[in-house]
């Protein structure tokens, strides 16, 4: 059975600069996979390639269908939610409007209402701050909004770019708990890009480590966690 | 011929030779065309001067102005008022008008610094629209709606003699005025070429391409930007003054908004940030509206239905459509296109790099 998301030999770059030199990875249906590596290794570029934000060659397939030459909107509508670096919160809009944007392509039915309830159960602060401008939220709250919004898209796969960035450890833990719940209970596959390898490996079952645009190491998270030399050389702890 | 001389001739860059040819052509023009057509070409040259000024502002220092027609009006009226009310020789008023207008432009440049490109466009556009009404007000000075009539100078005897010797006909006033205009244009183009080649030009280009970076490199951004405004106004002022000379008459209606737009259009079509651009653009901007009606039906390679449509659509439509098409397909204008084509050709003919230095020729300037 083929994976939900497959990348094969993907090269990508910005203009004359090539960043990815043949990256291959896969995310199984309902799985949780980490993409690790140092700054500049190409993790964000990989996610951007998947949602069409950067020019790429090679093979990227989602749910068996290749994503060549599709626009970002078209790719995303197939069931991929991408929370970019910096969260991508629409600060000109209210919290409620941000959520509505996530749900804008869905019919207003019982299913959507259930998802709203779920999202507010995960993130009660969003319900409190509904009418306020999204710019008034703290970093952690904005991350929650980004996740909630992504959830409302009812995706089959979530691409998360450095969700822990700039957040206090206790907030990071809370958010990762929720990501795990989303993954396990809502059966949403997760491809997680993180610099904080430790917490990423606790969440994911499988991991790839990028170095200068290539996959340097891959394997089960447990294996990588256990392998001290891998941890020292690639993961920073 | 000695080999040194031969080498010198061969090593003259094709560009200089081209300039020489163009100058000769322009100088000889009145000898082969009618006096009326000569006066039209004088008007085109006047536009070229104003566009050159605008080019310095937009193409080189990156600031936008949709109101340079107003500066032309200022120059024209300064000259006209000095000539009529104070009996100053018109030719003397030309540089004075230029300097005065340049000063005003420089002052303009100061508040302009605080405006983003768009707001500057808006403010200058509004200025262009309002200028005619502002001119009408001080009636005693400017002649109000009726404008000012100007006396056009007769050609001086030496000029008449030279002209008669070459063509055998008497030189008309229009032809003399054409030569005055050509003379000014040559000086001003030469001036611009030097300005832009040397440090001010480089500084301005650096500002255009990235103000923050330019400031970080120690360039006096504010100084150069206001300088650019002043210089461009100087050019427009001289052009306006020459316009009065060439037309023999100015009024508020000589300087409508469409003039400012025509300057911008000419600049862009010719190619901003190039030296020949303003001349090419001026020729286009001046002759296209006049010729477009007649030109299309006369061309045998255009199917008659298309030609009729073009003819019936009128100059404004062809003008607007051409402008849009050029911005979509050739945003660097005609000269920009020529430079790209030339660079492409050179690369193909010479291989990847210059044989002597190994450098690849730089890409033409972009807006």
């Amino acid at each position: 059975m083929s994976a939900l998301l497959e990348l094969e030999g993907v090269h990508a770059g910005y203009g004359p600069t090539s960043v990815l030199h043949g990256v291959s990875l896969e995310v199984p249906e309902g799985g949780a996979v980490s993409l690790l590596g140092a700054n500049g290794a190409g993790k964000t570029t990989t996610l951007r390639a998947i949602t069409g934000g950067v020019h790429w060659t090679g093979n990227i397939q989602f749910d068996g269908r290749p994503l060549h030459r599709m626009s970002t909107e078209q790719i995303v509508r197939r069931g991929i939610a991408h929370v970019p670096e910096g969260r991508g919160i629409c600060t000109e809009l209210t919290v409620d409007e941000n959520l509505k944007l996530g749900a804008h392509r869905r019919h207003n039915d019982a299913d959507l209402r259930k998802d709203y309830d779920r999202v507010f159960a995960y993130f009660p602060v969003l319900k409190e701050r509904r009418r306020l401008s999204a710019s008034t939220l703290s970093g952690g709250e904005q991350q929650m909004l980004a996740l909630a919004r992504a959830l409302l898209m009812k995706p089959r796969l979530m691409l998360l770019d450095e969700p822990s960035l700039g957040l206090a450890p206790i907030v990071v833990r809370a958010i990762f708990e929720i990501i795990r719940t989303i993954n396990r209970e809502n059966k949403v596959a997760v491809l997680l890009v993180e610099q904080n390898a430790r917490i990423a490996l606790e969440l994911s079952s499988h991991a790839y480590v990028l170095e200068v645009g290539r996959v340097a190491v891959e394997g089960e998270s447990a294996e990588l966690q256990g392998n001290e030399s891998v941890r020292r050389s690639y993961l920073g702890y | 011929m000695s080999s040194v001389l031969r080498h010198r001739i061969r090593s003259v860059p094709p560009r200089y030779a081209l300039v020489g040819i163009v100058v000769l052509l322009l100088a000889g023009l009145p000898t082969v065309i009618s006096s009326y057509l000569t006066s039209e070409w004088a008007q085109a040259l006047i536009l070229a001067i104003a566009i050159m000024g605008l080019n310095i502002l937009i193409g080189y220092s990156g600031q936008l102005s949709l109101g340079h027609g107003a500066f032309m009006a200022l120059g024209a009226y300064v000259s006209a008022i000095m000539a009529r009310h104070y009996h100053v020789d018109y030719l003397v008023t030309i540089p004075i008008a230029g300097i005065l207008t340049g000063g005003v432009g420089f002052l303009f440049g100061v508040p302009a610094l605080r405006l983003s490109a768009l707001y500057l466009a808006l403010a200058t556009f509004a200025l262009a629209v309002v200028a005619p009404s502002l001119i009408k007000r001080p009636k005693d000075l400017t002649g109000g709606v009726q404008g000012l009539l100007l006396v056009q100078p007769d050609p001086p005897q030496p000029a008449k003699d030279v002209f008669a010797a070459i063509t055998g006909t008497a030189m008309t006033t229009d032809q003399w005025i054409y030569y005055i205009t050509l003379f000014c244009a040559l000086i001003l183009f030469w001036l611009a070429w030097n300005l832009l080649r040397l440090r001010p030009g480089r500084a301005m280009r650096a500002i255009r391409d990235g103000e923050v970076a330019a400031a970080a490199s120690g360039i006096n951004v504010a100084g150069y930007k206001t300088l650019a405004f002043g210089v461009s106004a100087f050019y427009a002022g001289i052009a306006g003054s020459l316009l009065g000379l060439a037309s023999g008459f100015i009024s508020p209606d000589t300087f409508p908004v469409s003039l400012s737009i025509q300057l911008l259009v000419g600049g862009v079509i010719g190619g901003l940030a190039t030296i020949p651009g303003p001349l090419v653009g001026a020729i286009f901007a001046y002759f296209l509206p006049i010729e477009s009606d007649q030109w299309a039906p006369g061309q045998s390679w255009i199917p008659s239905q298309v030609a009729t449509v073009i003819h019936n659509a009128g100059p404004a439509v062809s003008y607007g459509a051409l402008l849009i098409l050029i911005m979509i397909f050739a945003p660097n204008g005609i000269v920009g296109l020529a430079y790209s084509g030339y660079a492409l050709l050179r690369r193909r003919l010479r291989g990847a790099g210059d044989r002597e230095t190994g450098h690849v020729p730089p890409d033409p300037q972009t807006v």
Partner: protein, 293 residues
Amino acid sequence: MQELFQLIVSGLATGGVFASLALALVLIYNAMGIVNFAQGEMAMFATFIAFTLISRGISYWIAVPVTLVIAFGGGIAIQRLVIRPVERAPVLTLVIITLGLATLINGLAGVLFGYIPRAFDSPFPPSSYGVFGVYVGYQDLGVIAMSGVVLLAVYLLLQRTTVGLTMRAASHHPEASRLLGVSVSWMLALGWGLAAAVGAVSGIMVAPVLLLEPDMMQTTIIYAFAAAVLGGIESPLGAVVGGLVVGVTVNLVGVYVPFVGGDLQLAVALAIIVAVLVIRPNGLFGRASSRRV
């Protein structure tokens, strides 16, 4: 006192016209960061379409909505055909394209409809409504009412509907919107369509006062620029408030300031623009934006 009141009311009426055109400018500015110099010409062309429909015997109240729909379609068409190819181009290129568009549309109007000014009848009676000795023209009231309706409709569309939400998101946050499945490109097209329709309203309202001819909107657009700049070029609310303020101010200055006659009223608009840009460049409701490096 009566005269003052009457001047204010008629100022509000012209203000309504300015507000609508200014709103169109703001909508496009929000969508793409440029001022559409062709907005006035587009409005004029739409007004000619309305005129043509009415002179064929169609009632005003049917011709106008039909014209708005046509204008909406026209705006979308222009965005798709002319603007989209150069979406990423620098500001200068886009400004020149809108100028080219303005020239083209003006010329087209001249060719199709001629340059002779036409009378455009207002549906409102020319009489006045008297209250407490003050007479207010029905025309002015009609214009105020129509502008009010249009502006309210745009507000509701943008703030209360999903389409409006996606349009706003696409304007301010194009990258994030794409990642949420919003067709940013089509939202821009819709923005142009909406702006064209709103601008058309301003043309239709002003035609009875200025005669209908290709150059009709050339002064109105300057007032609209002043209104948009005063209100803050990014703020729809600012466009409305700015429009009303400009309308009333120009009226009052024209009458009460002796040296400004009818012909220098336009200079008042220029003065407003310059004053705003010097004192408070973001206008009344705009936000200071930081320089993007």
